[in-house]
């Protein structure tokens, strides 16, 4: 900011603008906590994503297994396999999401560290 002010001392007009900019910047800083809020929101969204994905994957696995059993008449075996695979798929999705979240968090922290 200091060299900007140094430049602007040549003409009074830009000095006014710079002054305004400085004050705007200050005002923005004072009302900064919006970042927290936004982050909070996407966390709530994340929670919804993880919980539904975990449950629905199991249901879909079971439904597929039940479908195969129903049409092929292979007893309870495919529904059991579907249940296990569904659980695995749900956990895998959750795991992937958490990894994604961690990567984003890291990026955000790095950005904050820079600014």
């Amino acid at each position: 900011m200091s060299d900007k002010n140094g430049n602007s001392s040549n003409s009074p007009k830009t000095s006014d603008l710079d002054d305004l900019e400085q004050r705007l910047e200050d005002a923005k800083q004072r009302h900064a906590p919006e970042v927290e809020y936004e982050n909070d929101n996407s966390l709530l969204g994340m929670a919804w994503r993880i919980s539904t994905e975990l449950v629905v994957a199991v249901l879909v696995g079971c439904a597929l297994g039940y479908g195969i059993d129903y049409f092929a008449g292979t007893g309870p075996w495919f529904i059991i396999l579907g249940l296990v695979l569904g659980l695995a798929a749900g956990l895998r999705n959750t795991f992937r999401l958490v990894l994604e979240m961690e990567a984003e968090e890291k990026k955000r922290l790095e950005k904050q560290g820079k600014s």
Binding site: G45, T52, A57, L59, L64, G86, A89, R92, N93
Partner: protein, 249 residues
């Protein structure tokens, strides 16, 4: 007084239409509110689209909306996915308007029906599937089989990936529908509680203040949920679109 909390989700025909094969073309209250949502979006952005260099209030609103969705698409999928920007924009604002309109008294919440949300989400995932094949050909099926695994593992991974792919539209639709329906039922139950306490009279009359506070809080929460679920739907659309452009991730 309608004191059945599920009554608000009843479909009522407005104009009877002919039966076209399996399709019932009756115009219902649900269709009416869908139309209102669509026209609401069209009118808002019709008014908000300006070309002034220094935007007025409405134009600022339009620009903020544009940037919000554009950033979402660019951040989650990448700049090459901006072709799908109109689609994501439409989906987001349709759901947002449907959710928020549903918060009005006497309004019908179209998104509280699984049929509506399932149609939306199956369309999204179906589009990802078709576009993925159009863009990548058979290479698209690599999303079911990530490379660099021992051969035996594919017998396990491929079914798991297929299940999680099928789970996507189901999760997407169930989340939106369950959120909207649960919230509206909760609101109604709390509101009925107020009427019930007041009708008991005496000391109970004063106790009605508790559900009044509760209902007010839930209304605020529901507005948050309405916006949040539209956001989640849109961002997941972007996440799924990722598969069209980045087959090996």
């Amino acid at each position: 007084m309608a004191n059945d909390p599920m009554k608000q989700f009843e479909i009522a025909p407005i104009v009877e239409g002919p039966q076209l094969g399996p399709i019932d073309t009756t115009f219902t209250n649900s269709s009416l509110w869908m139309f209102i949502a669509v026209f609401g979006v069209i009118i808002l952005f019709g008014l908000a689209t300006g070309r002034k260099l220094i935007p007025g209030r409405l134009q600022s609103l339009g620009e903020i909306c544009y940037e919000f969705i554009a950033d979402m698409v660019k951040d989650t999928t990448g700049p090459e996915a901006m072709k799908f920007f109109p689609f994501v924009f439409t989906i987001f604002f349709f759901i947002l308007f449907a959710n928020l309109l549903g918060m009005n008294p006497w309004a019908f919440t179209t998104t509280s029906h699984l049929a509506v949300t399932a149609a939306l989400s199956f369309f999204v995932v179906g589009m990802v599937f078709v576009m993925g094949i159009v863009k990548n050909g058979l290479r698209f099926f690599k999303i079911f089989a990530p490379s660099g695994l021992p051969f035996i593992m594919y017998f396990l991974i491929v079914p798991i990936e297929i299940i999680s792919f099928i789970a996507r539209p189901v999760a997407l639709s169930v989340r939106l529908f369950a959120n909207m329906m649960a919230g509206h039922v909760m609101l109604k139950v709390f509101a009925i509680f107020i009427a019930w306490l007041i009708s008991l009279g005496g000391v109970y009359w004063a106790a009605a203040i508790v559900p009044v506070i509760g209902t007010t809080a839930i209304v605020a929460l529901e507005f948050l949920v309405a916006a949040l679920q539209a956001f989640v739907f849109a961002i997941l659309t972007c996440v799924y679109l990722n598969d069209v452009y980045h087959v090996d991730h």
